[in-house]
Amino acid sequence: MNDAMHATSKSKAKREQLKYKFKKFIFGSKDTEGAGKLALVYLLLISIGFIYLYPVLYMVSKSFMNLNDLLDTSINWIPSQLYMENYKQAFKSMDFWKTFKDSILIAGIPTLINVVICSIVGYGFARYEFKGKKLMLGLLIFSFILPPQATMMPTYVFYTDIGLINSLKAFVVPALFGQGLKAQIFILIFYNFFRQVPKVLIEAAKIDGAGHFKAFMRIALPSAAPAILVVFLFSIVWYWNEAYLTQLYVVGAFASKTDTYHWSSLIVSLKNFENSYNTARSVPGSGMVDINESIKMAGTMLSILPLLIMYLVLQKQFVESVDRTGITGE
């Protein structure tokens, strides 16, 4: 009897051990991750990642469908053939090459100015302790929170008066004065970054005979490469995606009133896609079909394609430099 009891207790202990091992496997111990927990993490990441990508996948799949595929309820995701006609027609109605060139200019030139001016201003804030610096930083943050609508109308009148409207100048001039699109964030990024540059370095340069500006150009700027990359990327993306202000200032609210060069950008032409498509179609002999979902999706795809390609090429530098710049201000 004693023996039997011993055996049961032994088997009980074994079972406990098994249970413990199982628990450890699923939930993990203090120093190892459990398999169950890991599985949960991956499940969450994959499912949320799918939800994130869903619109993009939807866009890609729809943009290749022809009219029969669209109406066929049995076809959900994979089109029966690679149908390029949608892209051709969207291409035509958007006047892609000209618009693409314009977009690059509209996003690129203000971005370059933004990088230069914001780095100078950020350096000024980080390096020097002058009177009223705190107040100025406060004003900087205030102008970030202020919605652009509050100043939009006087600015519009002002730009019209000095002849900036309907040209690229309407973006270049504010960027020159540190008031470009979301320039406040960029100034803060540079401010944070330059504060981390040791002061000793700049003082050493000064002893070697470098002036204020030379110290900035030769010492501070070369060390700020990650910050420059981040600002450049964000600035170009935000300028590219800005439809509202671009339409108001650069493209012009009353289209083609002026006799000068008529600007357009991919995002703005996507905004007015349906109208411009219908006008392009109404030209006799254009051979374009009635607008449908697939053509719209193809147009959307075309307008973000350059950014997507840029992102895929630069994503590694992008993710890494975000880690290094301390985009999060303290």
């Binding site: 203090k30 120093d31 993490v41 990441l45 949320i48 990642g49 939800i51 994130y52 990508l53 869903y54 619109p55 939807y58 729809k62 001016i117 201003v121 350096y123 000024g124 804030f125 020097y128 302790e129 100025m136 004003l139 929170i145 202020l146 919605p147 609508q149 509050a150 100043t151 939009m152 109308m153 006087p154 600015t155 004065f177 008031q179 100034i187 900035f216 964000f234 993306v237 995606n241 439809a243 509202y244 609210a253 995002i267 703005v268 996507l270 905004k271 979902e293 719209k296 959307t300 973000i304 950014l307 997507l308 840029m310 992102y311 590694k316 993710v319 975000v322 985009i327 999060t328 303290e330």
Partner: protein, 339 residues
Amino acid sequence: MKKNRVVKPGQLERRENRVGYLFVLPWLIGFVALVAWPMVQSFQFSLNKIKLLPQGMAKLYVGFENYSQIFLTDPDFILGLETYLMETLIAVPVIVAFALIISMLLNQKIVCRGFFRMIFFLPIIIASGPVMQQLADQEAASIPMMNVTMIQQLLDEYLPQVLAMSITSVFNNMITLLWYSGVQILIFLAALQKIDTSLYEAAKMDGGSAWECFWKITLPTIKPMILLNVIYTIITMSNNEQNELIVLIYDTMLSATGGYGYASAMAWLYSIIEAAIVIFFAVLIAGRKDVYERRAKKYRRELKKEKRLEKKIRKRGERHERRYARYKQKQSKKGTTKI
């Protein structure tokens, strides 16, 4: 005759720091010319009725009539404001909480971390107004597997209609909301990576669970980032071109009946409300004390109490001493008179 100047310590440094003005000068000019002055002007506009004539602008001072007109005779603005308020108040916590969860998942040691990060940062690149508009038109902005009508019915039963409607719209535009959280994920991720890992190790030594670590280490450390993200979210939610009110202001500006004056009044009102929302959330978050602050406050209060008690005791002692001295004096006086 040169004055004998006394060089004060730190003068050279102060003079050098003046160069800083030169560096920030472009921004300062820009701020005055393109932010401060237009703000004043816009306020002036909002007090006038403005007609665009071929000769230029014709202003007619009307005082605050534009503002009262918004409230009394313009149903569009008030209705838009109502939905905007409800949606913002619900969407902001959803977006920030979601961004925090995603960034914590991405911060773990997992395979294909770079790949997952690439997916979650993608919306930063492509989420712009017109693109979102196209996707929303195609109903690609809601999660297909989610049974929204069921949720809607459930909500309609138990909640007041305004609240139910805004919650349903959050569910309907789930992907739109998730897509707006790209920058927020980025900010959280950068903040999480800066937290010293030795803190977690020390907590583990003391037997803290992951749950406790989250509440007592992670959350207090990234609290400023939460505030930053909330403000950022409010601003992007309010200033994107899918917002009905923004479209309304834009249309009013160019319409014949509205004009610049009326649109300026709308813009000012809108800005004030947006600022109020920002302040509301800022107070809510910054005013909220975490464990350590609460404990420190309690400790400080106890310290104060102790000090007060000490003072009281000391005073009492002094009083007694004085009384005793007086008593002694009296005694001695009595003794001398007797003798």
